[in-house]
Amino acid sequence: MTRTSLHPITIGLLLLVGVAAPLLFPAYTNQIAVLWLMIVFAMTWDTLGGQMGYNSLGNIFFFGAGMYTCAVVQIGLYYDVGMYTSGARTTHIVFTTAQYFTGFAFGVVAAGIMAAILAVATSWVVFGLRGPYFAIGTLGVAVAGAELVASWQWVGAASGISMPVFPGAPQTQKLFFYFLLFALAFVVLLFLRWLYSTNFGMAINAIRDDEEKAEAMGLYTRRYKRTAWTIAAFFLGIAGAIFGNMIGFIDARDIAFPTTTFQYFHDSDGAARWQGHVLGTGGRCGCLPRHQGGDLDLFSRLAVRDARPAHRDYCRLLPAGHRRLVDGEISGTVWSPCCIDGARSAVARDQARTTC
């Protein structure tokens, strides 16, 4: 179970690893930053899928919502968003250092809040569904969200948005976003550890074990589910805001792709241990190059073998999605920094290099 608090030595080690990693491997700063992002993905997905037994395939919706909200706030504070994103724009727009950081700070906060608001709104729909229907429903939310934004001219439609340029040297930029993502992962870890130590943790575990029983005992199941969904959305919104600025360009359809991959980075059995998120993510995200295909097959087999019945179908779905990623068929996704060595064809490797 996840009741006990983290040991101070564990916290210290995590901090040490987090701070030392970009200093020891400066060439991999972005990749390690993405690793922390994956950990945030895994932990927030765990709140729903692992702890509560609700396999969400739509968490990426909040990540994307955070990205776009932050972009709109950052730009909208100083310029007309429609003008900024217009394909007909001829003027070159530069943000001053003060403008950039002020906009970014407001944008990150707004991203978390907007994602949480969207979570509350969508919860009225998606929590009318259970089991595989919930998974499909949340996937629908993510895909519909992407399609709607991809046809919304004001936010750049399918052309996406070029984010304001970071006012500093490239290495400074890498370190800035690395530490933001690391800090976010660390905060999320501590927050969720606390959350699971309260009655909230027990209640969502009860929903996972037997929701009908929980209802028969008078538990406010809908309230717990909605809150869990909103908490996950809040942190994903912030993660999206940071990551959107880190990569410098956001596009709705590219963001919406890695929906099923959330679960891939999570413990396959829903046991929901933090070690599973941190180590599992590290092992699976492609920062271990060259043997990704082999690792994937092994993971797939283990996942299907060890997973609870409710998870098995999803685990079987995952390799297909990830295989496309590894082969570099999808370019420009958030996963692309990890894809180069794993890409099996020369064309795919070139594509991955281009996007990285």
Binding site: M1, L195, S197, T198, N199, F200, M202, A203, N205, A206, R208, D209, D210, E212, K213, A214, E215, A216, M217, G218, L219, Y220, T221, R223, Y224, T227
Partner: protein, 248 residues
């Protein structure tokens, strides 16, 4: 009767063309143990499910403490203090017995921020007391799913008590339990009724158990009320005997 805590009037429930309950009326007196018997497929569990809100009824009225509850949801009914246990035991298998108890506290007055509260010592103390009451204190830190079926039944009963219900609906509480443990369970049910003042409506196939506990028994057959009365009246009712032996 004025002291009826649950009153069903002409309750009808159909599933497509199958009428599971037809014009069923019964009343459960406050503070007593009432039995509900009938052959397999007679509609007992459907009636339970209708009372606690799982199956919305087609027509009729279900009143709990004078309040119409037939339109309420499962959780709302549970929070009124009308709780049920299941024919097939339902516990939170991956949580410990103690956690099963802790999460079973009454949620009637729970506000939003109570979700993030820690368990109070008095809650844990009460949970341990009730686990002791059903003989599971020694197993309080074990995973509930690892208990035997009979022990899970006891745990489910303890969880129901933890919720401080006004009325407890028990669906075949002795089914699947070792005969040697049945006497202990009967004793605990009676004590819960006497000591905690919990009204009970019990579905039971074990005639010795139900005749021993209930002050009034209703008998359903083919979804209709066949007989009602004191245990000795039911035992002597030829219609009831025929229903069980297949003559009906």
């Amino acid at each position: 009767m004025n002291d009826a805590i649950i009153e069903l009037t002409n309750v009808t429930k159909s599933f497509g063309g199958v009428v599971a309950n037809r014009n069923v009326s019964l009343s459960v007196p406050r503070g007593r143990i009432t039995g509900l018997i009938g052959p397999n497929g007679s509609g007992k569990t459907t009636l339970f499910n209708s009372i606690v809100g799982y199956h919305p009824i087609d027509s009729g009225s279900i009143r709990f403490e004078g309040q119409e509850i037939s339109q309420l949801r499962v959780q709302e009914i549970a929070r009124l203090g009308l709780l049920r246990t299941f024919q097939t035991t339902r516990i939170y298998g991956k949580m410990s017995c103690l956690q099963n108890m802790q999460i079973s506290i009454p949620h009637r007055k729970a506000g939003f921020f109570d979700m993030f509260a820690y368990d109070r010592p008095d809650v844990i103390e009460r949970a341990e007391h009730l686990l002791s009451f059903v003989g599971l204190y020694e197993k309080r830190f074990l995973r509930a799913g690892s208990l035997s079926f009979g022990q899970q039944k006891l745990l489910e009963f303890a969880m129901a008590l933890m919720n401080e219900p006004t009325v407890l609906l028990l669906d075949e509480p002795t089914a699947g339990i070792n005969p040697t443990l049945i006497n202990g369970l009967i004793d605990r049910l009676k004590r819960a009724n006497a000591e905690f003042g919990i009204t009970m409506l019990i579905i039971e196939h074990n005639m010795r158990v139900i005749m021993n506990m209930a002050s009034k028994i209703y008998c359903l057959a083919h979804g209709e009320m066949l007989a009602a009365g004191a245990p000795e009246e039911i035992q002597g009712n030829q219609n009831v005997v025929d229903a069980y032996l297949g003559a009906h």
